[in-house]
């Protein structure tokens, strides 16, 4: 397996995923992602010219709802999942500039 994930890449992926990795975890992640890419290389060996790209694995389309209100006020239950609650809202660390 080629060591093709650079330190910069793993750093960047970590930022996008909002993950702080220790030195050990970093090395582990580099190896894991490297193995995934190896597998993609394996898949790429297959000749897929002339095969339509697949948008979904199920042979299903057009699953719709009608435009009818079916949900009522379920705030109390929804807010049970909030780490902190204030004034009927989720409370999170300051983000608004």
């Amino acid at each position: 397996m080629a060591n093709r994930i650079s330190d910069e890449t793993i750093e960047y992926v970590g930022i996008l995923a909002k993950l702080e990795l220790s030195e050990e975890e970093r090395e582990q992640a580099k190896q894991d992602i490297g193995r995934m890419l190896d597998y993609v290389d394996k898949l790429n060996e297959l000749d897929t010219s002339g095969v339509e790209p697949l948008s979904h694995v199920f042979p299903v389309h057009n699953v719709f709802r009608e435009d009818v209100v079916t949900n009522g006020d379920d705030r109390a239950r929804m807010l049970q999942n909030a780490p902190k609650v204030k004034d009927g809202s989720w409370q999170v660390p300051k983000t608004v500039e």
Binding site: I15, L16, K18, S55, H56, V57, F58, V60, H61, N62, V63, F64, R65, E66, D67, V68, V69, T70, N71, D73, D74, R75, M78, L79, N81, K86, D87, G88, S89, W90, Q91, V92, P93, K94, T95, V96, E97
Partner: protein, 477 residues
């Protein structure tokens, strides 16, 4: 010689669709509910919840696409746009990147410099985000997910506009099309229509585009025009100083008339889109497309042409009336009831627009019943009330939607048609104003006006000025 610059502008317009429910769940889209009272596991991004597409969203998107000359992708699908921000509980927004529902259209605009087609690159369906409110007291942020999952279409133009004037003309036209389709009320102030402006400048004659910036937080046509002029000046200044324009998202502050670079979710431009496995593809059959096409209502251009043919009203009136779907609806409904297009148009063009302007309201906010305006016209034409009283009653209709006949009856506003009563009053006025009478007899026409005024005053406005005039002339003979 100073260098000449050209402004290149493209718009991303977000429109909140007028559906009753959200795009992927059965929660209400009603505006102004208490925080988080219109939420469920789907629109708060709970693990294991399953989004199911609202069919009406697809139909509205198709209708807008058809009305803007777009091709419809009869096979389209949804993708996830990944970013972390608390307004987005799933940590991805469901949108369309690879196969948007509409593409390659355009609409014609008209400005002082002539007619021009502004290309539409694509229209895609997506979900809106929640609302963040800063809490000063605890220095934290409160999240309201009522708006999370409200359906949007994003209409992406080509970089075809060259001035603020063209941008406003494009937005105006687009807004009218969407309003006529009933797909959205398009209120900029309330955020049901939002425009992001992508702008760059280049030297006149240059082939390559300059580096562009994106401006957000534009919530009125005036703010958009000011932001365009401000950003154009800022970029030209940079170039003149030999500094580069940085590609970034900027937030327009309309009070300070200046834009600031945004530091937030817009930082990460790496959205790592991928197909949303929770949602199956949308396949639009020829029959479905045709059915939507057949249901397309009359749009502004067609309506304007019909008004000119069908109604005997000035062209200017027809343009103003059709310039708002609501105004046009009130006009047509009232005319259908009373059969007097010219009079209906006069009430709308005159008193209605005056009151709207006075209240700072949009025609879309008109609430009175066409029946009541039709009745008012009938009462005026029958001579039951005069023009002055009619205006007074109209204000009551405008604000409180009163039934005019009952209102006139209850407030004793009927014109006095009893000749005897009028004659007595006129005789009294003549007796009380000998100076004016002799002035009139001496050839001063003006004196008659004064006497008419005195009579009207005593009649508390409930007389026909024409009849008063006639009677005065007769008695002073």
């Amino acid at each position: 010689m100073a260098r000449q610059y050209e402004t290149v502008i493209g718009l991303e317009v977000h429109v909140e669709l007028a559906t009753k429910t959200k795009i992927f769940c059965g929660c209400s889209t009603a505006f102004g509910g208490a925080p988080n009272t219109h939420t469920c596991p789907v629109c708060t991004g709970m693990p294991g919840s399953l989004p199911v597409l609202n069919k009406q969203v697809v139909e509205y998107a198709m209708a807008v696409g058809l009305a803007t000359g777009c091709q419809i992708n009869q096979y389209c699908k949804f993708d996830r746009k990944n970013y972390f921000y608390p307004d987005n509980p799933q940590n991805y927004q469901i949108s369309q990147l690879y196969l948007p529902i509409c593409h390659d259209g355009g609409i014609e605009i008209e400005t002082a410099s002539g007619r021009k087609v502004i290309g539409i690159h694509e229209i895609h369906m997506e979900e809106d985000a929640g609302k963040l409110i800063h809490d000063e007291w605890d220095d934290c942020t409160l999240v309201d997910y009522n708006r999370s999952g409200v359906p949007l279409i994003e209409i992406v133009s080509e970089p075809d506009m060259r001035s603020a004037e063209e941008v406003i003309a494009y937005l105006d036209k687009l807004r009218l099309i969407v309003q006529y389709l009933g797909a959205s009320d398009c209120k900029l102030q309330e955020g049901s229509m939002r425009a992001d402006v992508n702008l760059s400048v280049r030297e006149v004659g240059a082939k390559e585009f300059g580096t562009r910036t994106e401006m957000k937080n534009l919530n009125s046509f005036k703010a958009i025009a000011r932001a365009i002029d401000g950003e154009r000046a800022r970029q030209i200044e940079l170039l003149e100083e030999g500094k580069p324009v940085i590609q970034e998202t900027r937030r327009w502050d309309d009070n300070k008339e200046y834009s600031y670079p945004m530091r937030s979710k817009e930082d990460a431009h790496d959205y790592r889109y991928f197909p949303d496995p929770d949602l199956v593809p949308v396949v639009i059959s020829d029959e479905w497309l045709q059915a939507v096409r057949d249901r397309q209502p009359e749009l502004r251009t067609e309506k304007l042409a019909r008004y000119k043919k069908e109604f005997d009203i000035p062209e200017y009136d027809a343009e103003i009336l059709t310039g708002s779907k609501r105004l046009a609806d009130v006009f047509e409904e009232t005319t259908a009831l009373c059969g007097k297009p010219k009079k209906v148009s006069n009430w709308l063009m005159g008193e209605t627009l005056r009151l709207l302007k006075e209240e700072g309201m949009e025609p879309e906010e008109l609430t009175f019943a066409p029946e009541h305006l039709a009745k008012l016209i009938e009462l005026t034409d029958a001579g039951t009330i005069n023009q002055t009283v009619a205006k007074e009653v109209f204000e009551k209709i405008f604000y409180e939607d009163v039934e005019p006949e009952r209102y006139v009856e209850e407030h004793g506003l009927k014109m006095v048609s009893d000749d005897g009563v009028l004659r007595t009053v006129v005789e009294g006025v003549i007796a009380a104003n000998p100076q004016s009478v002799s002035d009139y007899r001496g050839g001063k026409e003006k004196a008659l006006g004064f006497l008419v005024g005195q009579t009207m005053k005593q009649m508390k406005g409930r007389a026909n000025p024409g009849a008063v005039n006639q009677l005065l002339r007769e008695l002073l003979g």
